[in-house]
Symmetry: C2
Subunit: 146 residues, 2 copies
DNA sequence: GCACGATAAGTGTAATTGCACGCAAAATGG
DNA sequence: CCATTTTGCGTGCAATTACACTTATCGTGC
């Protein structure tokens, strides 16, 4: 009997987690000089691109737990990069929006993020990177739990 | 000027993290009835497939931090699924090996893992899943940090 | 206008993770 | 053979994450 197929290499989930850890370390390293983690930078992107929004909406866009987002907001608020204020029409909703300082830091950090993207795509291959993103997008959209 | 391309959908790292979270939740749910997290099950696989090995070697195989592995071992040892004993030739090395009980639980949990794999591959597509694993493997092998 | 459930957020808490550090055993080399 | 460096592990600690719960506000029906 031939050796049992690698239970390790064939696990879809493990390969995802390992790759995510590997790439996260790299992106975090690139963004560290600006005092941002990838998660924090991602929040800035979301607000910069799509504008102000309530916490729950942002969390859904980022596929993050709402409470995790809440805690990720703290250091950003403390650094004066974004503000949070209740909506006029619904005082339960806390609208998040970038401050001018937030936009500034976002503009400063974006080249570092772009450099990380470029380095990654150079190493992995631009076509493969695009294919990978598409596959991952499909995976996230796929309902599995139940 | 047209709207800036989605900074969100185009981030390689974010798409990886989101997919990893999404799929991890599913696998963990499938393995929960056996009292195993995906990480713990992965450790059993590693030992079942490749046999006994020192902690550092296992950590490298699994692309896990060594200290994280050490802590993941605790509940498995407490449950009597694996044992840890110093090598005869090098008493620094702690050799990990499955107990018969560990092999038993591994055999019990493997169908659940296989079912998760099958469900995932059914939803995502077997061909796409294989392509994704290959791409992810490439990514993990790619040196990025520096 | 008021009681009711539904929705948006914040907090307590526990599990997980990984870096920095310390300790013991082995290898090196004078 | 002893001193030094290297290697294999465990632990303290802080950061991150997410589930369960609480609070405040909104909408509905009576």
């Amino acid at each position: 009997m031939k050796a049992k197929a690698a239970g390790l290499g064939s696990c879809n989930c493990l390969s995802l987690r390992q790759a995510a850890r590997h790439v996260s370390q790299f992106y975090d390293q690139q963004l560290a000089p600006f005092g941002l983690t990838l998660n924090q930078y991602t929040i800035l992107v979301r607000l910069a691109v799509l504008g102000a929004a309530p916490i729950t909406a942002v969390a859904q866009d980022l596929v993050m737990d709402r409470t995790t987002l809440t805690r990720n907001l703290k250091p950003l608020q403390a650094a004066g990069l974004l503000t949070q204020k209740p909506s006029d029409s619904d005082r339960r909703s806390q609208y998040l929006s970038l401050t001018s300082r937030g936009e500034h830091v976002f503009a400063l950090a974006t080249p570092a993020w772009a450099a990380a993207q470029a380095r990654y795509e150079q190493e992995v291959g631009a076509g493969q990177a695009a294919a990978l993103r598409q596959l991952l997008h499909n995976v996230v959209q796929t309902p599995l739990l139940g």
